[in-house]
Protein backbone atom coordinates (compact mmCIF):
# COMPACT_ATOMS: atom_id res chain seq x y z
CA UNK A 1 0.00 0.00 0.00
CA UNK A 2 3.07 2.20 -0.17
CA UNK A 3 2.35 3.44 -3.69
CA UNK A 4 -0.95 5.05 -2.66
CA UNK A 5 0.71 6.72 0.33
CA UNK A 6 3.63 8.03 -1.78
CA UNK A 7 1.23 9.44 -4.39
CA UNK A 8 -0.97 10.96 -1.66
CA UNK A 9 1.90 12.81 0.01
CA UNK A 10 3.36 13.87 -3.36
CA UNK A 11 -0.08 15.05 -4.53
CA UNK A 12 -0.54 17.06 -1.35
CA UNK A 13 2.93 18.62 -1.76
CA UNK A 14 1.97 19.68 -5.30
CA UNK A 15 -1.30 21.10 -3.94
CA UNK A 16 0.60 23.17 -1.36
CA UNK A 17 2.97 24.50 -3.98
CA UNK A 18 0.20 25.47 -6.42
CA UNK A 19 -1.93 26.89 -3.61
CA UNK A 20 0.88 29.22 -2.49
CA UNK A 21 1.68 30.19 -6.10
CA UNK A 22 -1.96 30.96 -6.92
CA UNK A 23 -2.45 33.02 -3.76
CA UNK A 24 0.82 34.87 -4.37
CA UNK A 25 0.10 35.69 -8.00
CA UNK A 26 -3.47 36.84 -7.61
CA UNK A 27 -5.60 36.92 -4.44
CA UNK A 28 -8.70 34.90 -5.34
CA UNK A 29 -12.08 36.37 -4.43
CA UNK A 30 -13.38 33.09 -3.02
CA UNK A 31 -10.22 31.67 -1.53
CA UNK A 32 -11.54 28.49 0.00
CA UNK A 33 -13.50 27.57 -3.13
CA UNK A 34 -10.28 27.87 -5.14
CA UNK A 35 -8.53 25.56 -2.66
CA UNK A 36 -11.34 22.98 -2.88
CA UNK A 37 -11.33 23.04 -6.69
CA UNK A 38 -7.56 22.68 -6.79
CA UNK A 39 -7.50 19.75 -4.36
CA UNK A 40 -10.31 18.04 -6.27
CA UNK A 41 -8.57 18.47 -9.64
CA UNK A 42 -5.33 17.07 -8.23
CA UNK A 43 -7.29 14.20 -6.65
CA UNK A 44 -8.61 13.22 -10.08
CA UNK A 45 -5.08 13.44 -11.48
CA UNK A 46 -3.80 11.33 -8.59
CA UNK A 47 -6.40 8.64 -9.35
CA UNK A 48 -5.43 8.57 -13.02
CA UNK A 49 -1.72 8.42 -12.15
CA UNK A 50 -2.40 5.58 -9.74
CA UNK A 51 -4.03 3.52 -12.47
CA UNK A 52 -1.34 4.29 -15.06
CA UNK A 53 1.82 3.73 -13.00
CA UNK A 54 3.36 0.37 -11.99
CA UNK A 55 2.76 -0.90 -8.38
CA UNK A 56 6.36 -0.16 -7.39
CA UNK A 57 6.49 3.27 -9.09
CA UNK A 58 9.88 2.15 -10.35
CA UNK A 59 11.62 2.43 -6.97
CA UNK A 60 9.50 0.93 -4.14
CA UNK A 61 10.60 -2.35 -2.47
CA UNK A 62 8.65 -5.30 -3.95
CA UNK A 63 7.50 -6.38 -0.45
CA UNK A 64 5.27 -3.28 -0.26
CA UNK A 65 3.59 -3.79 -3.63
CA UNK A 66 1.44 -6.80 -2.79
CA UNK A 67 -1.80 -4.97 -1.91
CA UNK A 68 -4.80 -4.97 -4.26
CA UNK A 69 -5.09 -1.91 -6.47
CA UNK A 70 -8.45 -0.79 -5.02
CA UNK A 71 -7.33 -0.77 -1.38
CA UNK A 72 -4.10 0.96 -2.35
CA UNK A 73 -6.01 3.68 -4.21
CA UNK A 74 -8.66 4.02 -1.49
CA UNK A 75 -5.97 4.36 1.18
CA UNK A 76 -4.09 6.92 -0.90
CA UNK A 77 -7.19 9.01 -1.55
CA UNK A 78 -8.18 8.89 2.14
CA UNK A 79 -4.75 10.10 3.21
CA UNK A 80 -4.75 12.79 0.51
CA UNK A 81 -8.23 13.98 1.54
CA UNK A 82 -7.41 14.02 5.22
CA UNK A 83 -4.12 15.85 4.62
CA UNK A 84 -6.20 18.56 2.99
CA UNK A 85 -8.67 18.62 5.90
CA UNK A 86 -5.75 18.89 8.31
CA UNK A 87 -4.29 21.71 6.25
CA UNK A 88 -7.65 23.50 6.26
CA UNK A 89 -7.50 23.48 10.05
CA UNK A 90 -4.13 25.24 9.88
CA UNK A 91 -5.27 27.58 7.10
CA UNK A 92 -8.35 28.74 9.00
CA UNK A 93 -6.29 29.18 12.13
CA UNK A 94 -3.93 31.48 10.21
CA UNK A 95 -6.64 33.26 8.25
CA UNK A 96 -9.39 33.62 10.84
CA UNK A 97 -7.84 32.71 14.18
CA UNK A 98 -8.95 35.26 16.70
CA UNK A 99 -6.26 34.25 19.19
CA UNK A 100 -3.53 34.42 16.54
CA UNK A 101 -4.63 37.91 15.60
CA UNK A 102 -4.45 38.97 19.26
CA UNK A 103 -0.89 37.68 19.57
CA UNK A 104 0.13 39.49 16.39
CA UNK A 105 -1.48 42.71 17.68
CA UNK A 106 0.38 42.38 20.99
CA UNK A 107 3.67 41.71 19.20
CA UNK A 108 3.26 44.66 16.84
CA UNK A 109 2.36 47.14 19.59
CA UNK A 110 5.13 49.62 20.56
CA UNK A 111 5.68 48.13 24.03
CA UNK A 112 4.85 44.59 22.89
CA UNK A 113 2.14 44.39 25.52
CA UNK A 114 -1.54 45.34 25.55
CA UNK A 115 -4.51 45.55 27.88
CA UNK A 116 -7.79 43.83 26.86
CA UNK A 117 -9.37 47.23 26.13
CA UNK A 118 -6.53 48.06 23.73
CA UNK A 119 -6.92 44.72 21.96
CA UNK A 120 -10.64 45.44 21.63
CA UNK A 121 -9.86 48.90 20.23
CA UNK A 122 -7.53 47.44 17.59
CA UNK A 123 -9.92 44.65 16.64
CA UNK A 124 -13.47 45.54 17.57
CA UNK A 125 -16.42 43.20 17.80
CA UNK A 126 -18.02 44.96 14.83
CA UNK A 127 -14.90 44.16 12.74
CA UNK A 128 -14.98 40.52 13.87
CA UNK A 129 -18.67 40.16 13.04
CA UNK A 130 -18.51 42.07 9.74
CA UNK A 131 -15.81 39.73 8.45
CA UNK A 132 -17.83 36.62 9.42
CA UNK A 133 -21.02 38.05 7.95
CA UNK A 134 -19.28 38.80 4.64
CA UNK A 135 -17.88 35.26 4.49
CA UNK A 136 -21.29 33.75 5.21
CA UNK A 137 -22.88 35.97 2.56
CA UNK A 138 -20.30 34.67 0.06
CA UNK A 139 -21.06 31.03 0.78
CA UNK A 140 -24.81 31.56 0.78
CA UNK A 141 -25.54 30.86 4.43
CA UNK A 142 -27.11 34.27 5.03
CA UNK A 143 -28.67 37.10 3.05
CA UNK A 144 -28.62 40.84 3.67
CA UNK A 145 -31.54 43.11 2.87
CA UNK A 146 -31.49 46.77 3.93
CA UNK A 147 -28.81 46.14 6.52
CA UNK A 148 -30.67 43.20 8.11
CA UNK A 149 -29.07 39.78 8.04
CA UNK A 150 -31.13 36.58 7.83
CA UNK A 151 -30.28 32.90 7.54
CA UNK A 152 -30.94 31.20 4.22
CA UNK A 153 -32.33 27.63 4.27
CA UNK A 154 -28.70 26.43 4.24
CA UNK A 155 -27.87 28.75 7.15
CA UNK A 156 -30.97 27.65 9.10
CA UNK A 157 -30.09 23.97 8.87
CA UNK A 158 -26.44 24.66 9.80
CA UNK A 159 -27.57 26.80 12.76
CA UNK A 160 -29.99 24.08 13.93
CA UNK A 161 -27.36 21.35 13.60
CA UNK A 162 -24.68 23.30 15.49
CA UNK A 163 -27.17 24.40 18.16
CA UNK A 164 -28.05 20.74 18.74
CA UNK A 165 -24.38 19.74 18.91
CA UNK A 166 -23.64 22.56 21.38
CA UNK A 167 -26.58 21.52 23.53
CA UNK A 168 -25.82 17.80 23.39
CA UNK A 169 -22.12 18.21 24.22
CA UNK A 170 -22.79 20.96 26.79
CA UNK A 171 -20.47 23.41 24.99
CA UNK A 172 -22.19 26.59 26.16
CA UNK A 173 -23.12 29.51 23.92
CA UNK A 174 -19.56 29.81 22.58
CA UNK A 175 -18.43 32.20 19.87
Amino acid sequence: MLKGLVLAFAGFAVFLLLHVLLFRLRVPARRFMVMVRLVFALGVLLTILHRLTPPDLGFLPPVYTLAGWAIDLLNGLLVYGFLFIGYCMFYFLVDRGFSGRMMIEIESSPQRRLRPAEIAARYSLAMVLRRRLNEMLEIGRITEVNGRYQNTAKGRSAAAMFANVKRFLQLGEGG
Partner: protein, 174 residues
Protein backbone atom coordinates in the same frame (compact mmCIF):
# COMPACT_ATOMS: atom_id res chain seq x y z
CA UNK B 1 -8.79 -3.16 4.62
CA UNK B 2 -7.86 -4.60 8.01
CA UNK B 3 -6.01 -1.46 9.09
CA UNK B 4 -8.63 0.93 7.71
CA UNK B 5 -11.52 -0.98 9.30
CA UNK B 6 -9.68 -1.11 12.64
CA UNK B 7 -8.94 2.63 12.40
CA UNK B 8 -12.55 3.50 11.57
CA UNK B 9 -13.93 1.25 14.33
CA UNK B 10 -11.47 2.65 16.89
CA UNK B 11 -12.63 6.15 15.95
CA UNK B 12 -16.28 5.09 16.29
CA UNK B 13 -15.52 3.87 19.83
CA UNK B 14 -13.69 7.15 20.61
CA UNK B 15 -16.60 9.16 19.20
CA UNK B 16 -19.25 7.33 21.24
CA UNK B 17 -17.26 7.57 24.48
CA UNK B 18 -16.46 11.25 23.85
CA UNK B 19 -20.03 12.21 22.92
CA UNK B 20 -21.44 10.28 25.88
CA UNK B 21 -18.85 11.73 28.24
CA UNK B 22 -19.45 15.32 27.17
CA UNK B 23 -23.21 14.81 27.25
CA UNK B 24 -23.34 13.36 30.76
CA UNK B 25 -20.49 15.24 32.42
CA UNK B 26 -19.84 18.99 32.23
CA UNK B 27 -16.20 19.07 31.11
CA UNK B 28 -14.11 22.18 31.62
CA UNK B 29 -10.73 21.08 30.17
CA UNK B 30 -12.11 20.03 26.82
CA UNK B 31 -8.94 19.89 24.70
CA UNK B 32 -7.13 17.77 27.28
CA UNK B 33 -10.12 15.43 27.53
CA UNK B 34 -10.40 15.05 23.75
CA UNK B 35 -6.69 14.27 23.35
CA UNK B 36 -6.71 11.99 26.42
CA UNK B 37 -9.62 9.97 25.06
CA UNK B 38 -7.96 9.71 21.65
CA UNK B 39 -4.73 8.42 23.22
CA UNK B 40 -6.76 5.98 25.33
CA UNK B 41 -8.27 4.71 22.06
CA UNK B 42 -4.87 3.70 20.64
CA UNK B 43 -4.83 0.33 22.48
CA UNK B 44 -8.40 -0.18 21.21
CA UNK B 45 -7.09 0.28 17.66
CA UNK B 46 -4.33 -2.27 18.26
CA UNK B 47 -6.80 -4.72 19.81
CA UNK B 48 -9.23 -4.32 16.91
CA UNK B 49 -6.43 -4.78 14.39
CA UNK B 50 -5.32 -8.02 16.03
CA UNK B 51 -8.93 -9.20 16.36
CA UNK B 52 -9.89 -8.61 12.71
CA UNK B 53 -9.23 -11.41 10.18
CA UNK B 54 -6.62 -11.30 7.42
CA UNK B 55 -7.88 -9.41 4.34
CA UNK B 56 -7.58 -12.41 2.01
CA UNK B 57 -10.04 -14.35 4.17
CA UNK B 58 -12.89 -11.84 3.74
CA UNK B 59 -12.23 -9.25 1.05
CA UNK B 60 -11.93 -9.58 -2.76
CA UNK B 61 -8.39 -9.54 -4.17
CA UNK B 62 -8.53 -5.87 -5.23
CA UNK B 63 -9.36 -4.83 -1.66
CA UNK B 64 -6.96 -7.19 0.10
CA UNK B 65 -3.58 -6.12 1.48
CA UNK B 66 -0.97 -8.09 3.42
CA UNK B 67 -0.93 -7.44 7.17
CA UNK B 68 2.36 -5.58 7.25
CA UNK B 69 3.67 -2.40 8.85
CA UNK B 70 2.15 -0.23 6.08
CA UNK B 71 -1.32 -1.65 6.81
CA UNK B 72 -0.91 -0.95 10.54
CA UNK B 73 0.37 2.56 9.76
CA UNK B 74 -2.51 3.25 7.34
CA UNK B 75 -5.11 2.31 9.95
CA UNK B 76 -3.32 4.42 12.54
CA UNK B 77 -3.26 7.35 10.13
CA UNK B 78 -6.99 6.99 9.52
CA UNK B 79 -7.66 6.95 13.28
CA UNK B 80 -5.50 10.08 13.65
CA UNK B 81 -6.99 11.94 10.67
CA UNK B 82 -10.58 11.17 11.68
CA UNK B 83 -9.78 12.63 15.08
CA UNK B 84 -8.26 15.74 13.52
CA UNK B 85 -11.31 16.21 11.29
CA UNK B 86 -13.63 15.75 14.25
CA UNK B 87 -11.59 18.19 16.36
CA UNK B 88 -12.05 20.78 13.62
CA UNK B 89 -15.81 20.23 13.70
CA UNK B 90 -15.86 20.23 17.52
CA UNK B 91 -14.06 23.57 17.78
CA UNK B 92 -16.23 25.04 15.06
CA UNK B 93 -19.27 24.15 17.17
CA UNK B 94 -17.59 25.29 20.38
CA UNK B 95 -15.84 28.53 19.48
CA UNK B 96 -16.74 29.75 16.01
CA UNK B 97 -18.07 33.29 15.93
CA UNK B 98 -19.68 32.54 12.55
CA UNK B 99 -21.62 29.59 13.97
CA UNK B 100 -22.73 31.65 16.96
CA UNK B 101 -23.86 34.38 14.56
CA UNK B 102 -26.02 31.94 12.57
CA UNK B 103 -27.58 30.67 15.81
CA UNK B 104 -28.34 34.26 16.88
CA UNK B 105 -29.87 34.95 13.45
CA UNK B 106 -31.98 31.79 13.78
CA UNK B 107 -33.63 33.33 16.85
CA UNK B 108 -35.06 36.09 14.59
CA UNK B 109 -36.06 34.19 11.46
CA UNK B 110 -38.62 36.75 10.24
CA UNK B 111 -36.98 40.16 10.81
CA UNK B 112 -33.33 39.16 10.89
CA UNK B 113 -30.74 41.24 12.77
CA UNK B 114 -28.60 44.26 11.95
CA UNK B 115 -24.88 44.38 12.72
CA UNK B 116 -25.64 46.66 15.71
CA UNK B 117 -28.25 44.26 17.07
CA UNK B 118 -25.85 41.36 16.67
CA UNK B 119 -23.05 43.16 18.52
CA UNK B 120 -25.42 43.80 21.44
CA UNK B 121 -26.00 40.06 21.81
CA UNK B 122 -22.32 39.33 22.36
CA UNK B 123 -20.29 39.94 25.47
CA UNK B 124 -17.04 40.95 23.81
CA UNK B 125 -15.16 41.24 27.09
CA UNK B 126 -16.15 37.64 27.83
CA UNK B 127 -15.06 36.51 24.35
CA UNK B 128 -11.69 38.23 24.73
CA UNK B 129 -11.18 37.07 28.30
CA UNK B 130 -11.95 33.48 27.37
CA UNK B 131 -9.33 33.49 24.62
CA UNK B 132 -6.73 35.32 26.70
CA UNK B 133 -7.14 32.80 29.54
CA UNK B 134 -6.74 29.91 27.10
CA UNK B 135 -3.57 31.40 25.65
CA UNK B 136 -2.11 31.94 29.12
CA UNK B 137 -2.96 28.36 30.02
CA UNK B 138 -1.35 27.09 26.80
CA UNK B 139 1.81 29.11 27.46
CA UNK B 140 1.47 31.70 24.69
CA UNK B 141 0.80 34.75 26.86
CA UNK B 142 1.70 36.14 30.28
CA UNK B 143 -0.46 38.52 32.24
CA UNK B 144 1.23 41.17 34.41
CA UNK B 145 -0.89 43.77 36.22
CA UNK B 146 -3.58 43.70 33.55
CA UNK B 147 -1.09 43.82 30.66
CA UNK B 148 -0.76 40.88 28.31
CA UNK B 149 2.52 40.05 26.58
CA UNK B 150 3.70 37.06 24.57
CA UNK B 151 6.01 34.35 25.87
CA UNK B 152 8.86 33.01 23.72
CA UNK B 153 6.41 30.40 22.40
CA UNK B 154 3.79 33.06 21.71
CA UNK B 155 6.31 35.26 19.87
CA UNK B 156 7.37 32.34 17.69
CA UNK B 157 3.74 31.41 16.94
CA UNK B 158 2.83 35.01 16.17
CA UNK B 159 5.84 35.30 13.84
CA UNK B 160 4.95 32.06 12.00
CA UNK B 161 1.32 33.14 11.65
CA UNK B 162 2.26 36.62 10.44
CA UNK B 163 4.67 35.05 7.91
CA UNK B 164 1.99 32.65 6.61
CA UNK B 165 -0.54 35.49 6.32
CA UNK B 166 2.01 37.47 4.35
CA UNK B 167 2.99 34.51 2.16
CA UNK B 168 -0.63 33.78 1.24
CA UNK B 169 -1.61 37.46 1.16
CA UNK B 170 -4.44 36.86 3.61
CA UNK B 171 -4.49 40.31 5.17
CA UNK B 172 -4.64 40.88 8.95
CA UNK B 173 -7.50 38.37 9.37
CA UNK B 174 -8.73 37.19 12.73
Amino acid sequence: MRGLVAGALAFAVFFLVQAGGFHWVKISRRALTLVGLWVAGLPVYVWLYVWLPEDRAVWPVALAAPSDSITVLSGGLLYFFLFMGYAQFFYMAESSVGVRTMIELASEPERGLTLEELTQRYRYDWMLDRRLRRMIHAGYLIEEDGWYRTTHRGRLTAAVMAWCKQLLRLGPGG
